[in-house]
Subunit: 131 residues, 4 copies
């Protein structure tokens, strides 16, 4: 499990005075840095090897400006070249959103999927949660 | 069907030199304005009556800076108080992403769902596509 | 003069129900595409040759969701390797913001400024406005 | 002086593989929360009383993904109803950007500036730096 604290930005709120649904998607990306390091310890863009193929988000409760949000991230599925990351957003003790993100281990030069290595599988397994 | 042309912004591209997956989500929101007018002809924030509860996006191909993107939006499901909007993103004749967005007709004062009116159903029906 | 029409996105509005000051900065960038083509006709990222060194924005009036915004861009200063782009944002016939953006003609490989060519100067001159 | 640590998001990088100039403006806003509390301890949107009228940013060095950015904020000018906030962005020990933001103490109901109170002046003074 990876935990990331997000400070809502004034402009993350929309005209309904709750957090805009798009801002959450940005927060989820910010909270993936530690996960990215499994694939790319230095977070080097030249060596980037992941591509997003599917995202799915349930908005369970509204979030607001002025209180921190905790993003909890874990791995819920490990495929051949793909994996699924689950990311929850919590504010004030309430689960406000849950998102599943399917990414593929990808070679941007050949533009093709690449099987996960044993080392990657091992590290992903450390953050695996049965759902 | 609603059609919206999006001009990618220089900053919509990320370090992989393709459109960042989050930017697409912003574009989808921009392309919902015409759809929003079914519920709120003046797009008045005081009268806002829709809330996002679920989004699901398939990234089918990469998009790039420098060429316009067309977002095609239609209704694929009409429930009691909810509806599902499908939004496709096309660039250079290729379908690059498909997203389904479930929204609820919602009263922000009472914080409760409200059944769709006959008038709303009629207008949604005009943009309905069987999938 | 370059003219670009921007459709405000629902999430561009913040908790004050006016356009967030950051969203305007994104719009300005979107409206620079035509200007960028003076330096890079294909908008190729490999051949990119401009870097932002200074921006300065006056917020003169509030902008709102639901009405298009026109960005008018022109050149107000041409230096040796630098230039200043002025961008105005108009909504409903009112000038709502004015921004000056200083960019440098830049070689990203050597990380050094490069003098503007005669051809670039000529094209910039076509969009020059005395202020 | 207020200090805020920002974690660059993957999508904050643009096609030049440095931080996009717009993302910095979002970071500056995030880093204003502590400053906002001088005017609005609960960060309540109903009681919001500040409006941005001018921003001015010098981009002094490029910033990159994968390393934290520190935003240092202080007050450099206190007017009758206005104030100027200076915000520096530091990455890896280097000053990469400096921005000055002029805001007005503002009554959104009457849409008029309001003189700063003695209490506000006192708190602003605590973060004042001579430049």
């Amino acid at each position: 499990m990876f935990n990331t604290i997000i400070t809502p930005r004034f402009g993350d709120v929309d005209g309904l005075r709750h957090i805009n649904n798009v801002s959450l998607i940005e927060w989820y990306e910010t909270a993936r840095n530690e996960f990215f390091q499994i694939f790319n310890p230095e977070l080097s863009l030249d060596a980037w090897n992941l591509i997003m193929v599917h995202m799915e988000v349930d908005y369970l409760g509204q979030m607001y400006f002025g209180k921190p949000v905790e993003i909890k991230s874990c791995i819920i599925k490990i495929g051949n070249s793909s994996l699924t990351l689950r990311q929850e957003a919590w504010q004030g003790g309430e689960l406000c959103a849950r998102g599943d993100f399917v990414m593929i281990h990808f070679d941007f030069k050949s533009q093709k999927p690449v099987a996960l290595t044993q080392e990657q599988r091992g590290k992903l397994q450390e953050h695996f949660v049965e759902v």
